[in-house]
């Protein structure tokens, strides 16, 4: 049965992520969007964006 590896809980502290510190953000790039038209980090400049990575197995 499919199990959601990550429910969107922010309750569990984790080891430090491996994302590089303070790099220019790579623009969104993928096979499409769900729940939204295509977004663009360039167009969101000036805002704060939280990207939460998750996987289903």
């Amino acid at each position: 049965m499919k199990r959601i590896v990550l429910a969107f809980t922010l309750l569990i502290a984790a080891a430090a992520p491996a994302a590089p510190q303070d790099q220019v953000a790579t623009e969104f790039n993928g096979a499409g969007w769900v729940n939204s038209p295509a977004l663009s980090l360039e167009r969101l400049r000036g805002k704060i964006v939280l990207m939460y990575f998750y996987e289903e197995t």
């Binding site: 959601i4 590896v5 990550l6 969107f8 922010l10 309750l11 569990i12 502290a13 984790a14 080891a15 430090a16 992520p17 491996a18 994302a19 590089p20 510190q21 303070d22 790099q23 220019v24 953000a25 790579t26 969104f28 790039n29 993928g30 096979a31 499409g32 969007w33 769900v34 729940n35 939204s36 038209p37 977004l39 663009s40 980090l41 360039e42 167009r43 969101l44 400049r45 000036g46 805002k47 704060i48 964006v49 939280l50 990207m51 939460y52 990575f53 998750y54 996987e55 289903e56 197995t57």
Partner: protein
């Protein structure tokens, strides 16, 4: 702005998950994991499931630890730099959807609606005018940036800037001058080459992110062809990097 990035799953399955769980965040479908790899050294796994990245108002990414207190502190540090387009403006209910589109960067749908609303009745028209003043600041900023690029000889970047103005401000007084400036820049051979090369690059990226194995050699072929045909372009530099990482 909250964005979820789903790694390694087909769009149809991500749609099913969102529907089943009534999850409403915008979800980027990163089936090939290419986007994940741009930010993470290791793939998400059962032992490694909490991954978040904060992008600040300056467009820079910062690793984020998704524990509420740590995340709150990181966001609090960034908040003074954040700016909403309609800060200090009272947005009327009738223009809320358009304002939301604009704040989310969906300018093509939001901006024309606000300009049109200026002609509406007194109350809505006045509110729309206050919003238009803010949008004019945006257009002026973009125009100044385009001129800076032109002056610095960055013609393709200027072509892009004018294109944004013409598209985002369609139907307004900003559209025609921007479209004319863009058409003028397109006469330049370097701009034409960069446009063609960027189109090939976009095609290769789409193939690489499709998640289909069969698309990878096709993408490599497109990248090689791009570099051969348009070696002096910015797209060729990125194609070289992409080709190396796709090996």
């Amino acid at each position: 702005m909250f964005v979820a990035v789903n790694s390694g799953t087909a769009k149809s399955e991500v749609e099913g998950y969102a529907k089943e769980t009534k999850f409403e965040w915008p979800i980027l479908v990163d089936q090939s994991r290419e986007f994940e790899r741009a930010y993470m050294k290791t793939e998400i796994s059962l032992k490694n499931i909490q991954k978040a990245v904060l992008v600040g108002p300056d467009g820079h990414a910062r690793a984020a630890i998704p524990a509420p207190n740590v995340l709150k502190k990181a966001i609090d540090e960034l908040l003074p730099m954040a700016k909403m387009t309609f800060d200090g403006v009272a947005v009327p209910t009738k223009l809320k959807a358009a304002a939301d589109d604009i704040e989310l960067g969906m300018f093509e749908t939001g901006i024309p609606q606000v300009f049109v609303a200026q002609k509406a009745g007194k109350e809505l028209g006045e509110a729309a005018k206050a919003m238009v003043d803010k949008l004019k600041e945006l257009a002026d900023g973009l125009t100044a940036k385009a001129k800076e690029h032109e002056a610095a000889g960055a013609k393709y970047a200027a072509w892009l800037d004018y294109g944004r103005i013409a598209t985002w401000f369609k139907g307004t007084e900003f559209e025609k001058p921007a479209a004319a400036a863009q058409a003028e820049l397109k006469k330049d051979k370097g701009v034409q080459d960069e446009i063609a090369a960027q189109q090939m690059l976009a095609q290769a990226k789409a193939l690489l992110s499709s998640g289909k194995k069969a698309d990878k050699p096709t993408a490599s072929g497109v990248l090689a062809s791009l570099q051969k045909k348009y070696p002096a372009t910015e797209a060729a530099k990125e194609a070289s990097r992409l080709a190396d990482s796709a090996k």
